[in-house]
């Protein structure tokens, strides 16, 4: 019957994927329109939980966008060939996720129409304002970095550009962490550990996303990824997961040591309902222990993908606990007293995300997906490994 060439089928698949991504992005735009029209009252957010699900998605995308560049840095800064071959794809992914994450953050604003105000009025003591500069700078630097990789005459500049991206990325994720670290009064935040924690988390999440996209694009192009390369990056993911687990443990242990923080820790780790469940079941078990078992179990080979997917799911669980759980625990305005009021003083704040927030979050993922798909298709971002992988 029909004897379509594989190329034809691939073209069809490309447009189907694009259409699917487009539909999800469109659903996100619909959610934004509704939120604009009716106000944030149609979301689950309120005056106690002021940042909700959109921020979980946005911060995942932004943190992972920085972390995925680690692949490029190991190549350009530390000169590892198998990573260097993957730098273009990592850069593309970073731009795509940064765009998706920033879009979600911007469209969740109460007045997204005033984004020009944010661009023209910079308060130098505000971490948000700094992040506007850091994110725009990141975009520009990655584009320059890609240019030095893809334009032969610019090749000599590749290493300096790579180092600049490497440094900027650290500052960027520090900035993301500082948004929370600078909150003096909140029990969950206001810790200097948060920026380094975010950096290590970004390594793990970025690499996990990279594994996923790499596997899909290899399958797409009928190419087989060298098993040795997969093993190496899989073990690297293991190290990053252990690193983030360590910082998470230190964060909670220091809190547990301070009498003033014990009630908060009890809430997050034991009594808080959905939050301890997501923390232990979602983040620790699914997002760390299981991936580590999959990565380090002797003799097993092709489980890099499942480990990566679990790490990503764990990331969402952790961010939900960190962002929403951190606000749900009542702000301690009167230490040593139990408080009650009409404004939620002394009470655990309740939050149930609405479908609009979910659609907006997925809209951000869809934008990242579309940018990646088009990028991989239009420009050659595929890793070009030499036959010999040993360095």
């Amino acid at each position: 019957m029909s004897a379509h060439s594989p190329m034809y089928l691939k073209n069809v698949l490309y447009y189907v994927l694009l259409a699917a991504g487009g539909l999800v992005a469109l659903a996100g735009m619909f959610a934004v329109y509704q939120m604009e029209h009716h106000g944030h009252v149609i979301t689950g957010m309120n005056n106690q939980i002021v940042w909700g699900l959109p921020h979980v998605f946005a911060i995942f995308l932004i943190v992972a966008a920085s972390g995925v560049l680690n692949v490029a840095s190991i190549g350009s800064v530390f000169g590892k060939a198998i990573y260097k071959a993957r730098a273009p794809m990592a850069s593309l992914l970073s731009i795509a996720m940064l765009a998706g994450g920033l879009m979600v953050l911007m469209l969740d604003l109460g007045r997204p129409d005033r984004v020009i105000v944010a661009a023209t009025n910079i308060n130098l003591t505000s971490m948000f304002a700094w992040n506007v500069v850091l994110y725009s700078g990141m975009f520009a630097l990655i584009v320059i970095y890609l240019w030095t990789m893809m334009e032969r005459r610019m090749n000599p500049w590749n290493k300096p550009a790579g180092i600049a991206v490497f440094a900027w990325r650290f500052i960027l994720t520090t900035g993301t962490g500082l948004i929370f670290a600078f909150l003096t009064a909140r029990q969950a935040y206001g810790s200097a550990l948060i920026p380094p924690l975010f950096i290590v988390l970004s390594f793990a999440w970025g690499l996990a996303v990279f594994h996923l996209v790499q596997a899909v694009t290899y399958a797409w192009n009928d190419r087989v990824l060298d098993q040795a390369i997969m093993e190496r990056t899989k073990r690297l993911l293991g190290i990053f997961v252990i690193g983030s687990l360590y910082l998470i443990a230190v964060y909670h242990l220091t809190n547990l040591y301070f009498a003033q923080q014990i009630d908060f820790e009890r809430f997050i780790l034991r009594d808080g309902g959905i939050y301890p469940t997501l923390f232990w079941g979602g983040y620790i078990l699914l997002g760390n222990i299981l991936p580590l078992v999959l990565i380090y179990w002797p003799g097993r080979k092709s489980n890099c993908m499942s480990a990566s997917i679990l790490v990503i799911l764990g990331a969402f669980a952790l961010l939900y606990v960190f962002i929403i759980g951190g606000q749900a625990y009542p702000l301690e305005i009167f230490p040593g007293y139990v408080a009650s009021s009409s404004f939620g003083d002394g009470q655990i704040a309740s939050y149930s995300p609405s479908v609009y927030e979910l659609l907006l979050g997925f809209g951000g993922l869809a934008v990242a997906f579309i940018l990646t798909t088009v990028g991989v298709r239009v420009i050659n971002f595929m890793p070009q490994d030499k036959s010999q992988t040993a360095e």
Binding site: R114, F128, L183, T184, F343
Partner: protein, 238 residues
């Protein structure tokens, strides 16, 4: 016959009259909107002293007055704005109960102003912390930063606003210390409404003001004094 073109003359008269009538309200409104032409003085620091011994458990008069003055609905759902609220606190160790009003503490070093990306949150020269509704992009970072949960986000479209107190969907708002009343030489609505005189309002910088004399004479505290924000609102009997 005279050369004077009467219809033409009356046409000019009518035109000038109509133009004056058309422009005058505009000039008047422009004047009103700009209020006093001289800037507020940095020598003044407005503040409040709240005597918790005089604040009655169950009394909500200050909250009601605030809602009325500022055009708030008075609803207390999770997405409704509350600029001032009554908080009942009970000491964990001694069991002592206190009832007090809580609102923006008008800090000297306000965390909301520090974190605001667009400078929409600002502190006036006389110490009043305000939100510029034209600059606020609704990011809610100030709500995360405020140690007193003093701020609310407008979650819904608004109607029937008080012209003196403009508000806007998608922006953050909080107690303005009734700045529109202060600028007219009046006291904040909550102060005026308290029948027990539990709230004393005045200039903290003027050594002869009643509030300055009182905070020199009796023990008063700032809420979360450990944060060193130097609040403009102080409490007695906490």
């Amino acid at each position: 016959m005279s050369d004077i073109d009467l219809p033409r003359r009356s046409f000019f008269k009518t035109s000038i009259g109509a133009a004056a009538i058309a422009i005058a309200p505009g000039i008047l409104l422009f004047d009103m909107a700009h209020g006093k032409s001289q800037p507020v003085s940095g020598k003044v620091r407005w503040g409040m002293l709240i005597d918790t011994a005089q604040c009655q458990d169950g009394c909500n008069d200050c909250v009601t007055a605030c809602n009325k003055e500022n055009g708030l609905s008075g609803s207390t759902g999770p997405t409704d704005s509350q600029w001032i609220r009554k908080v009942e606190i009970k000491s964990i160790s001694t069991g002592r109960k206190v009832s007090l009003p809580m609102m923006c503490q008008h800090c000297e070093h306000p965390p909301c102003v520090d974190v605001c990306p667009t400078n929409a949150s600002f502190k006036r020269a006389d110490g009043i912390v305000l939100v510029d509704r034209h600059r606020c992009i609704g990011c809610r970072y100030c709500m995360m930063a405020c140690p007193y949960k003093a701020r609310s986000f407008v979650h819904e479209p608004l109607s029937d606003q008080n012209p003196d107190v403009p508000r806007g969907k998608g922006t953050v708002e909080s107690c303005t210390l009734c700045v529109h009343r202060i600028d007219k030489g009046q006291q904040p609505a909550c102060v005026e409404s308290c029948s027990n005189k539990a709230i004393l309002f005045g200039d903290l910088n003027d050594p002869n003001s009643e509030i300055a004399q009182k905070i020199r004479a009796v023990a008063t505290v700032e809420v979360r004094a450990n944060l060193r924000l130097n609040t403009g609102v102080r409490y007695q009997g906490l």
